[in-house]
Assembly symmetry: C2
Homo-oligomer: 192 residues x 2
Amino acid sequence: MSGTQGLRERKKAETRLAVHRAALGLAVEKGYDGVTVEEIADTANISRRTFFNYFSDKADAMMYGEEERHRRLVATLRDRPAEESGWVALRAATLELFGSFDSPDREWIARTRLARRHPLLLARQLANLIHLEQQLATLVAERDGDTGVRPRVMVSSLLAALRAATNVWLDDEAGSLAEAIEEGLDVLAGPY
Amino acid sequence: MSGTQGLRERKKAETRLAVHRAALGLAVEKGYDGVTVEEIADTANISRRTFFNYFSDKADAMMYGEEERHRRLVATLRDRPAEESGWVALRAATLELFGSFDSPDREWIARTRLARRHPLLLARQLANLIHLEQQLATLVAERDGDTGVRPRVMVSSLLAALRAATNVWLDDEAGSLAEAIEEGLDVLAGPY
DNA sequence: TGCAAGTTTGCATCCCGTGCAGTTATTCCG
DNA sequence: CGGAATAACTGCACGGGATGCAAACTTGCA
């Protein structure tokens, strides 16, 4: 029966998710500074101390889930056909994941909206993005056999476009996110 | 004689700089977490409490100077000839400032190197960059009469390229920074 | 059942950041 | 010059964040 692990592992995963949801929910409701670790812990029925066994800090608990998204993008890029160039594969992987016409992950939206209102969370999110950037750049560099600055610029500007498109879309949740992202990426394609 | 203000103002500026230098120096020496606000304050001959009259927190004290750089870039862009398109003006302003062949600001290098080793500082630096991005995007949008996603993507990818080039250059301080940046920007020009 | 390993918890501790109020320094002006 | 007004510095107290430690307590397994 056990999904992937013993009861111990499953319980941990459950608790982690519960803590995350508590953190995110409270923060949405009362703002980042308006919520204490103690509240989060209470809401999730664990002790203050145990909170820190699961997450390294408050921001970490709230932003849980980003890593998973990032892992998926990296995996998707890696799985693109080997004959595709770095740019083609990168663009395709991005649209494949973020450009889905399905309604995007509500929790991701909640996290991102929250981050836009709280500099500390925004900073954290951006730092995570840098990490993603490095992983992607490595893959692109391998694909194109280019160890120079080009893969890095390519990846970081793609992520920049992704960010810009997402922000525009979040300003007025009009139209589909997929369209906004495609439009953002197209700006990169043509010369300015 | 007074440069711009009375003795009061000058003294404040001096102290602020002293605190910044103390913070940066100690952090370079002992790492971000290895230095406490108290140490910084002591080194700069002020009280712990007064430290917080000058800077909102430790990271702020260490990253002091970034804002000034950013203000300069914004001003430079604003001063470009009105007939230049957003992209041309942006590129020109960037090269004008960061592409100088003079040896780049040693303190900026120290800050940036430090930020690369300390996630918390990196996060802060990136958050500042977002602020710059918004200002630049507004100016570009005005120039091009475009209220859509295009100016944002343009600006954020330019900054991304700038960042990538800087990072490559910092890895092995070989060649001039100006060349690295020009190369980075050129990647954006051509299609991938 | 009982032991080994893993998890939770409380406690103590240090540091960060801020409100407050008293003291000290600077500026302004009669 | 000298005193009032203003601004800056400081100590204190406090709440909250984050971590090491050791004592419970669970769980898994022989």
